[in-house]
Protein backbone atom coordinates (compact mmCIF):
# COMPACT_ATOMS: atom_id res chain seq x y z
CA UNK A 1 0.00 0.00 0.00
CA UNK A 2 2.77 2.49 0.91
CA UNK A 3 4.73 1.70 -2.24
CA UNK A 4 1.59 2.31 -4.30
CA UNK A 5 0.90 5.53 -2.38
CA UNK A 6 4.39 6.82 -3.17
CA UNK A 7 3.99 5.89 -6.82
CA UNK A 8 0.63 7.67 -7.17
CA UNK A 9 1.77 10.73 -5.18
CA UNK A 10 4.88 11.01 -7.37
CA UNK A 11 2.77 10.76 -10.51
CA UNK A 12 0.24 13.39 -9.35
CA UNK A 13 2.95 15.81 -8.20
CA UNK A 14 4.80 15.39 -11.48
CA UNK A 15 1.58 16.10 -13.40
CA UNK A 16 0.96 19.21 -11.27
CA UNK A 17 4.50 20.47 -11.77
CA UNK A 18 4.10 20.06 -15.51
CA UNK A 19 0.58 21.49 -15.84
CA UNK A 20 1.31 24.28 -13.29
CA UNK A 21 -2.36 24.48 -12.34
CA UNK A 22 -1.41 24.88 -8.67
CA UNK A 23 1.14 27.57 -9.49
CA UNK A 24 -1.01 29.64 -11.84
CA UNK A 25 -4.48 29.04 -10.45
CA UNK A 26 -4.60 27.69 -6.89
CA UNK A 27 -1.92 29.93 -5.35
CA UNK A 28 -3.14 33.20 -6.95
CA UNK A 29 -6.71 32.28 -6.04
CA UNK A 30 -5.74 31.78 -2.38
CA UNK A 31 -4.00 35.16 -2.23
CA UNK A 32 -6.94 36.80 -4.00
CA UNK A 33 -9.37 35.43 -1.40
CA UNK A 34 -7.17 36.80 1.38
CA UNK A 35 -6.88 40.25 -0.21
CA UNK A 36 -10.57 40.55 -1.11
CA UNK A 37 -11.71 39.58 2.38
CA UNK A 38 -9.21 42.13 3.66
CA UNK A 39 -10.89 44.81 1.50
CA UNK A 40 -14.31 43.72 2.76
CA UNK A 41 -13.23 44.12 6.39
CA UNK A 42 -11.82 47.60 5.82
CA UNK A 43 -8.48 49.18 6.72
CA UNK A 44 -8.71 48.92 10.55
CA UNK A 45 -5.56 47.03 11.65
CA UNK A 46 -7.17 45.58 14.79
CA UNK A 47 -10.10 44.07 12.90
CA UNK A 48 -7.77 42.66 10.25
CA UNK A 49 -5.45 41.11 12.83
CA UNK A 50 -8.28 39.46 14.72
CA UNK A 51 -9.93 38.19 11.53
CA UNK A 52 -6.67 37.00 9.93
CA UNK A 53 -6.74 33.39 11.22
CA UNK A 54 -10.31 32.91 9.96
CA UNK A 55 -9.49 34.45 6.58
CA UNK A 56 -6.38 32.29 6.34
CA UNK A 57 -8.36 29.07 6.89
CA UNK A 58 -11.19 30.17 4.62
CA UNK A 59 -8.66 30.68 1.83
CA UNK A 60 -7.12 27.27 2.60
CA UNK A 61 -10.59 25.64 2.41
CA UNK A 62 -11.39 27.20 -0.96
CA UNK A 63 -7.95 26.17 -2.23
CA UNK A 64 -8.64 22.62 -1.04
CA UNK A 65 -11.69 22.49 -3.30
CA UNK A 66 -9.63 23.65 -6.30
CA UNK A 67 -6.78 21.24 -5.59
CA UNK A 68 -9.22 18.37 -5.12
CA UNK A 69 -11.05 19.17 -8.35
CA UNK A 70 -7.74 19.06 -10.16
CA UNK A 71 -6.83 15.78 -8.47
CA UNK A 72 -10.12 14.23 -9.61
CA UNK A 73 -9.70 15.62 -13.13
CA UNK A 74 -6.37 13.80 -13.53
CA UNK A 75 -8.22 10.47 -13.41
CA UNK A 76 -11.43 11.71 -15.06
CA UNK A 77 -11.08 10.06 -18.48
CA UNK A 78 -12.76 6.68 -18.81
CA UNK A 79 -9.59 5.13 -20.15
CA UNK A 80 -7.49 6.49 -17.28
CA UNK A 81 -10.00 5.28 -14.68
CA UNK A 82 -10.00 1.83 -16.26
CA UNK A 83 -6.22 1.87 -16.45
CA UNK A 84 -5.93 2.64 -12.76
CA UNK A 85 -8.36 -0.17 -11.88
CA UNK A 86 -6.42 -2.60 -14.09
CA UNK A 87 -3.04 -1.42 -12.89
CA UNK A 88 -2.88 -3.65 -9.85
CA UNK A 89 -2.45 -0.66 -7.52
CA UNK A 90 -4.08 -1.07 -4.11
CA UNK A 91 -7.03 1.41 -4.00
CA UNK A 92 -5.95 2.39 -0.47
CA UNK A 93 -2.56 3.29 -1.96
CA UNK A 94 -4.27 5.37 -4.64
CA UNK A 95 -6.21 7.23 -1.94
CA UNK A 96 -3.17 7.89 0.22
CA UNK A 97 -1.07 8.91 -2.78
CA UNK A 98 -3.65 11.33 -4.10
CA UNK A 99 -4.23 12.75 -0.62
CA UNK A 100 -0.46 13.23 -0.20
CA UNK A 101 -0.23 15.08 -3.53
CA UNK A 102 -3.12 17.40 -2.53
CA UNK A 103 -1.48 17.88 0.89
CA UNK A 104 1.78 18.99 -0.74
CA UNK A 105 -0.11 21.64 -2.71
CA UNK A 106 -1.94 22.77 0.43
CA UNK A 107 1.39 23.16 2.24
CA UNK A 108 2.57 25.46 -0.57
CA UNK A 109 -0.71 27.40 -0.31
CA UNK A 110 -0.33 27.75 3.46
CA UNK A 111 3.26 28.97 3.26
CA UNK A 112 2.15 31.68 0.84
CA UNK A 113 -0.94 32.58 2.88
CA UNK A 114 1.11 32.62 6.08
CA UNK A 115 3.46 35.13 4.51
CA UNK A 116 0.40 37.01 3.24
CA UNK A 117 -1.21 37.52 6.64
CA UNK A 118 2.13 38.58 8.15
CA UNK A 119 2.74 41.14 5.40
CA UNK A 120 -0.82 42.33 4.70
CA UNK A 121 -2.43 42.08 8.13
CA UNK A 122 0.63 42.58 10.35
CA UNK A 123 0.02 39.33 12.24
CA UNK A 124 2.76 37.94 14.50
CA UNK A 125 2.52 34.34 15.70
CA UNK A 126 3.52 33.92 19.36
CA UNK A 127 3.34 30.13 19.62
CA UNK A 128 4.73 28.66 16.42
CA UNK A 129 4.48 25.01 17.41
CA UNK A 130 0.73 25.35 17.97
CA UNK A 131 0.22 26.94 14.55
CA UNK A 132 2.38 24.27 12.91
CA UNK A 133 0.67 21.31 14.58
CA UNK A 134 -2.76 22.74 13.73
CA UNK A 135 -1.68 23.22 10.12
CA UNK A 136 -0.30 19.71 9.79
CA UNK A 137 -3.43 18.08 11.25
CA UNK A 138 -5.76 20.29 9.24
CA UNK A 139 -3.83 19.62 6.02
CA UNK A 140 -4.09 15.86 6.52
CA UNK A 141 -7.81 16.11 7.29
CA UNK A 142 -8.58 18.45 4.40
CA UNK A 143 -6.67 16.46 1.81
CA UNK A 144 -8.14 13.12 2.98
CA UNK A 145 -11.71 14.46 3.05
CA UNK A 146 -11.23 16.24 -0.27
CA UNK A 147 -9.94 13.16 -2.09
CA UNK A 148 -12.64 10.96 -0.54
CA UNK A 149 -15.47 13.24 -1.67
CA UNK A 150 -13.67 13.75 -4.96
CA UNK A 151 -13.92 10.00 -5.55
CA UNK A 152 -17.60 10.12 -4.64
CA UNK A 153 -18.28 12.71 -7.34
CA UNK A 154 -15.73 11.43 -9.86
CA UNK A 155 -18.07 9.70 -12.30
CA UNK A 156 -20.67 12.47 -12.34
CA UNK A 157 -20.95 15.05 -15.08
CA UNK A 158 -21.78 17.69 -12.47
CA UNK A 159 -18.76 16.85 -10.33
CA UNK A 160 -17.17 20.30 -10.58
CA UNK A 161 -20.21 22.07 -9.16
CA UNK A 162 -21.13 19.25 -6.80
CA UNK A 163 -17.73 18.91 -5.15
CA UNK A 164 -17.76 22.28 -3.30
CA UNK A 165 -21.28 21.53 -2.05
CA UNK A 166 -20.09 18.18 -0.69
CA UNK A 167 -16.72 19.26 0.69
CA UNK A 168 -17.25 22.70 2.21
CA UNK A 169 -19.90 21.75 4.81
CA UNK A 170 -17.95 18.62 5.75
CA UNK A 171 -14.72 20.52 6.40
CA UNK A 172 -16.42 23.25 8.47
CA UNK A 173 -14.97 21.74 11.69
CA UNK A 174 -11.48 22.30 10.26
CA UNK A 175 -12.33 25.94 9.55
CA UNK A 176 -13.56 26.46 13.11
CA UNK A 177 -10.85 24.49 14.90
CA UNK A 178 -8.04 25.75 12.65
CA UNK A 179 -9.10 29.37 13.09
CA UNK A 180 -9.37 29.06 16.87
CA UNK A 181 -6.06 27.23 17.18
CA UNK A 182 -4.35 29.89 15.06
CA UNK A 183 -5.99 32.71 17.03
CA UNK A 184 -4.60 31.10 20.16
CA UNK A 185 -1.19 30.73 18.50
CA UNK A 186 -1.24 34.46 17.65
CA UNK A 187 -2.18 35.54 21.18
CA UNK A 188 -0.08 32.89 22.90
CA UNK A 189 -3.07 31.25 24.64
CA UNK A 190 -1.60 27.74 24.41
CA UNK A 191 -4.12 25.92 26.61
CA UNK A 192 -7.20 27.06 24.69
CA UNK A 193 -5.44 26.52 21.36
CA UNK A 194 -4.35 23.01 22.20
CA UNK A 195 -7.94 22.02 22.96
CA UNK A 196 -8.86 22.70 19.31
CA UNK A 197 -6.25 20.17 18.22
CA UNK A 198 -8.55 17.56 19.75
CA UNK A 199 -10.94 18.26 16.89
CA UNK A 200 -8.34 18.49 14.12
CA UNK A 201 -6.56 15.24 15.11
CA UNK A 202 -9.59 12.94 15.14
CA UNK A 203 -10.97 14.61 11.98
CA UNK A 204 -7.77 13.73 10.14
CA UNK A 205 -7.64 10.20 11.58
CA UNK A 206 -11.28 9.43 10.76
CA UNK A 207 -11.06 10.66 7.15
CA UNK A 208 -7.79 8.82 6.58
CA UNK A 209 -9.31 5.58 7.90
CA UNK A 210 -12.60 6.00 6.00
CA UNK A 211 -10.71 6.86 2.82
CA UNK A 212 -8.45 3.83 3.06
CA UNK A 213 -11.50 1.60 3.61
CA UNK A 214 -13.89 3.13 1.06
CA UNK A 215 -11.79 4.42 -1.81
CA UNK A 216 -11.83 1.02 -3.55
CA UNK A 217 -15.64 0.65 -3.60
CA UNK A 218 -16.00 4.32 -4.62
CA UNK A 219 -13.54 3.78 -7.47
CA UNK A 220 -15.72 0.90 -8.70
CA UNK A 221 -18.93 2.91 -8.73
CA UNK A 222 -17.41 6.02 -10.39
Amino acid sequence: MWRDALLVAGKDVRIELRSRVALWQVLPFAVLVLVLFGFALGPGPTALRSAAPGLYWLAVLFSTVLATQRSVAIEAGEGVRDGLRLSGIDPAGVFLGKAAAVAIQLVAVQVLLGAGIVVLFDVHVETWWLALVASVLATVGLSAAGVLYGALSAGLRVRETLLPLLVLPIVAPVLIAGSRAWSAAVTGAVASGASWLKILGPFAAVYLAVGVALYGPLQETA
Binding site: D4, L7, K11, R14, I15, R18, S19, I74, G77, E78, G79, V80, D82, G83, L84, R85, L86, S87, G88, I89
Partner: protein, 238 residues
Protein backbone atom coordinates in the same frame (compact mmCIF):
# COMPACT_ATOMS: atom_id res chain seq x y z
CA UNK B 1 -6.24 -27.47 -22.69
CA UNK B 2 -5.76 -24.46 -20.38
CA UNK B 3 -8.57 -21.97 -20.86
CA UNK B 4 -7.83 -18.28 -20.51
CA UNK B 5 -11.49 -17.35 -20.90
CA UNK B 6 -14.49 -19.51 -20.09
CA UNK B 7 -17.90 -17.81 -20.40
CA UNK B 8 -21.13 -19.77 -20.22
CA UNK B 9 -24.47 -17.97 -20.54
CA UNK B 10 -22.69 -14.89 -19.19
CA UNK B 11 -24.98 -11.92 -18.68
CA UNK B 12 -23.72 -8.45 -17.88
CA UNK B 13 -25.46 -5.11 -17.46
CA UNK B 14 -24.19 -1.59 -17.93
CA UNK B 15 -26.59 0.39 -15.78
CA UNK B 16 -30.05 -0.98 -16.60
CA UNK B 17 -29.15 -1.99 -20.13
CA UNK B 18 -27.99 -5.45 -21.20
CA UNK B 19 -24.37 -5.45 -22.32
CA UNK B 20 -23.99 -9.21 -22.66
CA UNK B 21 -27.09 -11.40 -23.03
CA UNK B 22 -25.81 -14.92 -22.51
CA UNK B 23 -22.33 -15.20 -24.00
CA UNK B 24 -20.76 -18.64 -24.51
CA UNK B 25 -17.07 -18.42 -25.32
CA UNK B 26 -13.92 -20.37 -24.57
CA UNK B 27 -10.49 -18.98 -25.42
CA UNK B 28 -7.47 -21.21 -24.88
CA UNK B 29 -4.04 -20.04 -23.81
CA UNK B 30 -2.04 -19.23 -26.93
CA UNK B 31 -5.18 -18.74 -28.98
CA UNK B 32 -6.24 -15.60 -30.87
CA UNK B 33 -9.95 -14.89 -31.16
CA UNK B 34 -11.22 -12.01 -33.27
CA UNK B 35 -14.61 -10.63 -32.29
CA UNK B 36 -16.53 -8.95 -35.07
CA UNK B 37 -19.92 -7.33 -35.09
CA UNK B 38 -21.80 -4.14 -35.76
CA UNK B 39 -21.80 -1.13 -33.47
CA UNK B 40 -23.64 -2.01 -30.27
CA UNK B 41 -23.26 -5.76 -30.75
CA UNK B 42 -21.46 -6.09 -27.40
CA UNK B 43 -17.83 -6.43 -28.49
CA UNK B 44 -16.42 -3.79 -26.16
CA UNK B 45 -18.61 -5.02 -23.31
CA UNK B 46 -17.25 -8.53 -23.81
CA UNK B 47 -13.66 -7.27 -23.50
CA UNK B 48 -14.54 -5.15 -20.45
CA UNK B 49 -16.26 -8.13 -18.85
CA UNK B 50 -13.16 -10.27 -19.49
CA UNK B 51 -11.09 -7.56 -17.77
CA UNK B 52 -13.41 -7.49 -14.77
CA UNK B 53 -14.53 -3.92 -15.50
CA UNK B 54 -18.13 -4.88 -16.24
CA UNK B 55 -19.71 -7.14 -13.65
CA UNK B 56 -21.14 -10.44 -14.89
CA UNK B 57 -24.47 -10.82 -13.13
CA UNK B 58 -25.34 -14.40 -14.08
CA UNK B 59 -23.84 -17.38 -15.84
CA UNK B 60 -20.26 -18.62 -15.59
CA UNK B 61 -17.35 -16.22 -16.09
CA UNK B 62 -13.88 -17.60 -15.44
CA UNK B 63 -10.79 -15.74 -16.65
CA UNK B 64 -7.25 -17.10 -16.20
CA UNK B 65 -8.65 -19.68 -13.79
CA UNK B 66 -10.28 -17.06 -11.54
CA UNK B 67 -14.00 -16.58 -11.08
CA UNK B 68 -14.74 -13.01 -12.10
CA UNK B 69 -17.36 -12.63 -9.40
CA UNK B 70 -15.02 -13.42 -6.52
CA UNK B 71 -11.48 -12.79 -7.85
CA UNK B 72 -11.98 -9.75 -10.05
CA UNK B 73 -9.00 -7.85 -8.63
CA UNK B 74 -6.67 -10.80 -9.23
CA UNK B 75 -7.83 -11.05 -12.84
CA UNK B 76 -7.30 -7.32 -13.43
CA UNK B 77 -3.61 -7.55 -12.57
CA UNK B 78 -3.09 -10.30 -15.12
CA UNK B 79 -4.92 -8.92 -18.15
CA UNK B 80 -4.03 -6.05 -20.45
CA UNK B 81 -6.76 -3.97 -22.06
CA UNK B 82 -6.33 -1.59 -24.96
CA UNK B 83 -9.55 0.40 -24.96
CA UNK B 84 -10.95 3.07 -27.27
CA UNK B 85 -9.80 5.76 -24.84
CA UNK B 86 -6.11 5.05 -24.06
CA UNK B 87 -5.23 4.73 -20.36
CA UNK B 88 -2.65 7.51 -20.49
CA UNK B 89 -1.94 10.67 -18.52
CA UNK B 90 -1.79 13.59 -20.94
CA UNK B 91 0.82 15.59 -19.01
CA UNK B 92 3.24 12.67 -18.74
CA UNK B 93 5.54 11.59 -21.54
CA UNK B 94 5.29 8.23 -23.28
CA UNK B 95 8.27 7.05 -21.23
CA UNK B 96 6.73 8.19 -17.94
CA UNK B 97 3.37 6.64 -18.78
CA UNK B 98 4.86 3.24 -19.58
CA UNK B 99 7.18 3.39 -16.57
CA UNK B 100 4.25 4.24 -14.27
CA UNK B 101 2.15 1.36 -15.62
CA UNK B 102 5.00 -1.11 -15.24
CA UNK B 103 5.83 0.00 -11.69
CA UNK B 104 2.15 -0.09 -10.77
CA UNK B 105 2.07 -3.73 -11.86
CA UNK B 106 5.02 -4.40 -9.56
CA UNK B 107 7.36 -5.15 -12.48
CA UNK B 108 10.88 -3.96 -13.13
CA UNK B 109 11.38 -1.11 -15.59
CA UNK B 110 14.00 -2.94 -17.67
CA UNK B 111 11.49 -3.70 -20.44
CA UNK B 112 10.23 -0.14 -20.80
CA UNK B 113 12.82 0.99 -23.34
CA UNK B 114 12.44 -2.03 -25.58
CA UNK B 115 8.62 -1.78 -25.43
CA UNK B 116 8.76 1.84 -26.62
CA UNK B 117 11.26 0.92 -29.34
CA UNK B 118 8.98 -1.91 -30.42
CA UNK B 119 6.16 0.59 -30.97
CA UNK B 120 8.38 3.01 -32.84
CA UNK B 121 8.55 5.53 -30.01
CA UNK B 122 12.20 6.39 -30.00
CA UNK B 123 14.31 9.49 -29.37
CA UNK B 124 12.52 12.73 -28.54
CA UNK B 125 9.10 11.20 -29.18
CA UNK B 126 9.27 9.12 -26.01
CA UNK B 127 9.99 12.30 -24.03
CA UNK B 128 7.02 14.14 -25.53
CA UNK B 129 3.97 14.64 -23.31
CA UNK B 130 1.12 12.46 -24.53
CA UNK B 131 -1.11 15.54 -24.87
CA UNK B 132 1.11 16.73 -27.74
CA UNK B 133 1.02 13.41 -29.57
CA UNK B 134 -1.20 12.44 -32.50
CA UNK B 135 -3.98 9.90 -31.96
CA UNK B 136 -1.86 7.21 -33.59
CA UNK B 137 1.15 7.96 -31.38
CA UNK B 138 -1.06 7.84 -28.29
CA UNK B 139 -2.35 4.46 -29.39
CA UNK B 140 1.23 3.26 -29.91
CA UNK B 141 2.07 4.41 -26.38
CA UNK B 142 -0.92 2.51 -25.01
CA UNK B 143 0.27 -0.58 -26.87
CA UNK B 144 3.77 -0.08 -25.48
CA UNK B 145 2.25 -0.29 -21.99
CA UNK B 146 0.85 -3.73 -22.87
CA UNK B 147 4.14 -4.85 -24.41
CA UNK B 148 6.04 -3.83 -21.28
CA UNK B 149 3.50 -5.46 -18.95
CA UNK B 150 3.26 -8.69 -21.01
CA UNK B 151 -0.17 -9.75 -19.70
CA UNK B 152 -1.46 -13.32 -19.81
CA UNK B 153 -4.61 -12.22 -21.62
CA UNK B 154 -4.50 -9.42 -24.19
CA UNK B 155 -7.81 -7.65 -24.75
CA UNK B 156 -7.53 -5.36 -27.76
CA UNK B 157 -10.48 -3.18 -28.66
CA UNK B 158 -10.04 -2.21 -32.30
CA UNK B 159 -6.25 -2.24 -32.06
CA UNK B 160 -5.78 -1.12 -35.66
CA UNK B 161 -7.93 2.00 -35.32
CA UNK B 162 -6.05 5.23 -35.96
CA UNK B 163 -2.77 3.52 -36.83
CA UNK B 164 -0.75 3.88 -40.00
CA UNK B 165 0.23 0.89 -42.16
CA UNK B 166 3.54 0.32 -40.34
CA UNK B 167 1.96 0.38 -36.92
CA UNK B 168 -0.81 -1.95 -38.10
CA UNK B 169 1.84 -4.41 -39.17
CA UNK B 170 3.46 -4.12 -35.74
CA UNK B 171 0.08 -4.86 -34.11
CA UNK B 172 -0.13 -8.01 -36.19
CA UNK B 173 3.30 -9.17 -35.10
CA UNK B 174 2.57 -8.29 -31.47
CA UNK B 175 -0.55 -10.43 -31.52
CA UNK B 176 1.39 -13.29 -33.06
CA UNK B 177 4.23 -13.00 -30.53
CA UNK B 178 1.81 -12.81 -27.59
CA UNK B 179 0.04 -15.96 -28.75
CA UNK B 180 3.33 -17.78 -29.34
CA UNK B 181 4.44 -16.89 -25.83
CA UNK B 182 1.34 -18.63 -24.47
CA UNK B 183 -0.87 -15.60 -23.85
CA UNK B 184 -4.44 -15.56 -25.12
CA UNK B 185 -5.59 -12.68 -27.30
CA UNK B 186 -9.13 -11.44 -27.82
CA UNK B 187 -9.41 -8.57 -30.26
CA UNK B 188 -12.35 -6.72 -31.71
CA UNK B 189 -12.44 -5.09 -35.08
CA UNK B 190 -14.62 -3.47 -37.69
CA UNK B 191 -12.06 -4.48 -40.28
CA UNK B 192 -12.30 -8.24 -40.93
CA UNK B 193 -9.55 -8.04 -43.53
CA UNK B 194 -7.14 -7.06 -40.74
CA UNK B 195 -8.51 -9.16 -37.89
CA UNK B 196 -9.34 -12.50 -39.52
CA UNK B 197 -5.78 -13.25 -40.73
CA UNK B 198 -4.56 -12.84 -37.13
CA UNK B 199 -7.17 -15.10 -35.56
CA UNK B 200 -7.46 -18.81 -34.88
CA UNK B 201 -11.20 -18.31 -34.53
CA UNK B 202 -13.64 -15.55 -35.36
CA UNK B 203 -16.65 -14.82 -33.17
CA UNK B 204 -19.44 -12.78 -34.68
CA UNK B 205 -21.45 -10.95 -32.04
CA UNK B 206 -25.01 -9.72 -32.33
CA UNK B 207 -27.45 -8.61 -29.67
CA UNK B 208 -24.96 -9.08 -26.84
CA UNK B 209 -24.22 -12.73 -27.61
CA UNK B 210 -21.98 -14.80 -29.87
CA UNK B 211 -24.09 -15.42 -32.94
CA UNK B 212 -21.53 -17.46 -34.82
CA UNK B 213 -18.06 -18.94 -34.36
CA UNK B 214 -15.90 -19.53 -37.43
CA UNK B 215 -12.36 -20.62 -38.06
CA UNK B 216 -9.85 -17.86 -38.61
CA UNK B 217 -6.82 -18.13 -40.79
CA UNK B 218 -3.90 -17.33 -38.49
CA UNK B 219 -0.64 -18.30 -40.17
CA UNK B 220 -2.34 -19.06 -43.49
CA UNK B 221 -3.54 -17.07 -46.45
CA UNK B 222 -7.18 -16.09 -46.12
CA UNK B 223 -9.22 -18.16 -48.56
CA UNK B 224 -11.74 -16.39 -50.75
CA UNK B 225 -14.97 -15.56 -48.94
CA UNK B 226 -13.67 -16.05 -45.41
CA UNK B 227 -13.99 -12.37 -44.57
CA UNK B 228 -17.28 -11.99 -42.81
CA UNK B 229 -20.03 -9.63 -43.77
CA UNK B 230 -20.95 -7.63 -40.73
CA UNK B 231 -24.50 -7.86 -39.42
CA UNK B 232 -26.65 -4.72 -39.30
CA UNK B 233 -26.50 -2.32 -36.32
CA UNK B 234 -27.70 -3.58 -32.96
CA UNK B 235 -28.99 -0.35 -31.57
CA UNK B 236 -30.73 -2.03 -28.64
CA UNK B 237 -27.57 -3.39 -27.05
CA UNK B 238 -24.93 -1.41 -25.18
Amino acid sequence: MHLAVHFRSAVALTGRFPALSGVDLDVAAGEVVAVLGANGAGKTSLLRACAGLVAVTSGEAVVLGCDLRSDRTVVRRRVGLLGHDPSLYDELTALENVRFAVRAAGLGTDRVGSALDRMGLAGRLRRTPVARMSAGQRRRTALAVLVARAPELWLLDEPHAGLDADARAVVGSLVEEAAESGAAVVLTSHEPELAVPLADRVAVMSGGRIAELRSGCRGTVAPEGVLVALPRDDADVA
